[in-house]
């Protein structure tokens, strides 16, 4: 896919996110919208080795969504990629749906793990990466974390584990949108200089604009070349990106739009097309 096509995918995914959460009546739009380019790049930019017809393919690359509350962005990407019918998206958060409020791997084709209790994904990704190394398999492992999630201590345990075992088959991504549920991250528990922190822990660090699909793809490609060290992509993003009234507002971390807001949001996303 070229850049224009990828940007169109991003608009479709953003529209899906708003529609899903509107129909569900609850969900997490802010952090879903900030991670759109990061996931579109992975799934549609030729980065992930996957087969939608064979989700458990042994040679596949793995994607672990550590910030499980942004399930809508992942569900949209999986559906658009063909892991399950797009119509399923409307069932998000409803009884009997394959799309749980937070990802449940045994229900949704294409999920490599469940998520929702924050701070756990990187350890899981490390474990998969270790298992691939032990079995001399070439699969790559990707793990998306939220920035607020980095306040969990387990993340930093896992950061040390990945460096200790030189997991160069692992690429972590931080969606650095600076907003968490209760407010501005800097005012709640500041992460300090993230780039320096990860580098001090022995990681290869790439800092990018997480909404520039070109930069996103370059970062993933660069991570693939890295030897002996795990890579983290610090993606500077905007919470609620693409919907003006949701941007940079913690009140849109976990709220569904009403009918009027829904229409405005969708038309804003679609207007970008012209």
């Amino acid at each position: 896919m070229n850049r224009d096509e990828l940007e169109e995918v991003c608009r479709i995914v953003r529209t899906d996110i708003i529609e899903m959460i509107y129909h569900a009546g609850s969900g997490h739009p802010g952090g879903s919208l900030s991670a759109v380019e990061l996931l579109a790049g992975l799934y549609f930019g030729g980065i992930l080795k996957i087969d939608p017809k064979n989700p458990k393919w042994e040679e596949r690359d793995y994607f672990i969504l550590s910030k499980g509350h942004v399930a809508p962005v992942l569900y949209s990407v999986l559906a658009r990629k063909g892991f399950f019918p797009v119509e399923e998206l409307k069932t998000l958060r409803k009884m009997g749906s394959i799309l749980q409020g937070h990802p449940h791997m045994s229900r949704t084709p294409g999920l490599d793990c469940s998520g929702g209790s924050l701070g756990q994904g990187l350890s899981i990704a490390n474990g998969i990466a270790l298992s691939c190394k032990m079995q001399k398999k070439g699969n790559r492992i990707y793990c998306l974390m939220g920035d607020g999630e980095l306040q969990e201590g387990q993340i930093w345990e896992a950061v040390m584990t990945a460096a200790q075992h030189r997991l160069d088959n692992l690429c972590a991504i931080v969606d650095y949108n600076h907003i968490q549920l209760d407010g501005n991250l800097e005012e709640i528990k500041n992460l300090g200089d993230l780039t320096e922190k990860w580098a001090d822990f022995g990681w290869n660090v790439l800092e990018i604009n997480g909404h520039d699909i070109g930069e996103v793809l370059l970062a993933y490609q660069s991570a693939q070349m890295q030897k002996e060290k795990p890579t983290v992509i610090i993606a500077n993003t905007v919470k609620g990106k693409g919907v003006s009234f949701m941007e940079n507002d913690c009140n849109w971390h976990g709220n569904a739009p009403d009918n009027e807001q829904y229409k405005r949001a969708v038309s804003e996303i679609r207007r970008e097309e012209v």
Binding site: Q120, S123, M160
Partner: protein, 315 residues
């Protein structure tokens, strides 16, 4: 004749050495207590099958989950209190919710850890683990049974928790005694009262049975090594036969095996019952045998409670 005494953790270590030969995908993990838990035997003989995760129990459990997702067979090992307590959410949401084939081994279980004191005495782990959907919980009674139980959970698909003590304890079973996950073992037949026990309390129960026998009281002793899934068939049969139930475990009286049996019996076949365990209290430093006595985890306690129970029943 004095029975031979072996620490249960030696049984765990021996089983891991066997598994290292049999299971290509075995990975033994520890959180900086490898010498205590006997995983050091794997570190020495099969270094490629061993990962020391450092002092990071939550990360160990999460990494074990990832290893299982990647097709490995991880045995994540540390003291029971730090495994079941500190990493509970990781065990719940990552391992059980996903039905991952991770084995969790909680060493230094119970109050018999002794001198280290309450911080290290795991008295809540069985309760914490058995409420988790999909979890198998095993509490073996001696070194031989620990070895067999460890081999058995390796064959059982899905999350399993095994807990065992630090101290050398009498060998109650024989090398050839059968061990089937989920099947309680009758250690002594009896008709007046049944004692359901596990861990080191099985031996205490057998000792109590001898004292009671002298007074004409016939105590049946059943080793409920698997707390979950509970062998309700054997429990019901023994309860019907005796009509009077005692339980004993090196754990809080609340929430453990006794509670599991009470939950079953009260809804299916209520009879007079007494649960012997630590009564809503933390432990403390001391010699193992001093602590077992102070906290009521002895054959004398079982003897006393058996007599009380019969009195209550009007005999």
């Amino acid at each position: 004749m004095e029975k031979e005494k072996i620490p249960m953790r030696d049984g765990y270590g021996r089983a891991l050495l066997k598994l290292a030969e049999e299971k290509k995908n075995l990975i033994v993990m520890d959180a900086d207590v490898a010498k205590s838990t006997r995983t050091v035997w794997i570190r020495e003989q099969y270094p490629e099958k061993f990962i020391d995760m450092g002092i990071a129990e939550q990360d160990m459990v999460g990494t074990a989950a990832g290893l299982a997702l990647g097709g490995m067979l991880p045995f994540a090992t540390t003291y029971g209190v730090f495994l079941a307590g500190r990493a509970w959410d990781q065990i719940r949401t990552t391992i059980c919710y996903n039905h991952l084939n991770v084995k969790l081994a909680g060493a230094h279980a119970g109050i018999s850890v002794g001198a280290d004191g309450a911080t290290h005495q795991s008295l809540e782990d069985v309760a914490l683990m058995r409420v988790l959907p999909d979890m198998t919980v095993v509490v073996p009674c001696d070194a031989y049974e620990t070895e067999k139980a460890t081999l058995a959970i390796a064959e059982q698909e899905g999350p399993c928790f095994i807990r065992f003590g630090r101290e050398a304890v009498p060998v109650v079973t024989k090398k050839e005694s059968p061990f089937i996950l989920g099947k309680a073992n009758i250690m002594r037949e009896g008709k007046d009262i049944v004692l359901f026990a596990n861990g080191a309390m099985v031996q205490e129960g057998l000792n109590a049975a001898e004292s009671l026998e002298k007074e004409g009281i016939d105590l049946m002793v059943v080793n409920v090594h698997t707390v979950k899934p509970l062998d309700t068939e054997a429990i019901l049969e023994a309860t019907k036969k005796t009509g009077c139930v005692l339980t004993a475990e090196e754990h809080q009286a609340a929430g453990g095996m006794g509670s599991a049996i009470a939950e079953f019996l009260v809804q299916n076949y209520p009879v007079p019952m007494k649960i012997i365990g630590v009564e809503d209290s933390f432990g403390e430093s001391g010699k193992p045998e001093e602590l077992m006595e102070k906290y009521g985890l002895t054959s004398e306690q079982i003897y006393k409670e058996a007599r009380n129970l019969l009195k209550k029943r009007g005999e």
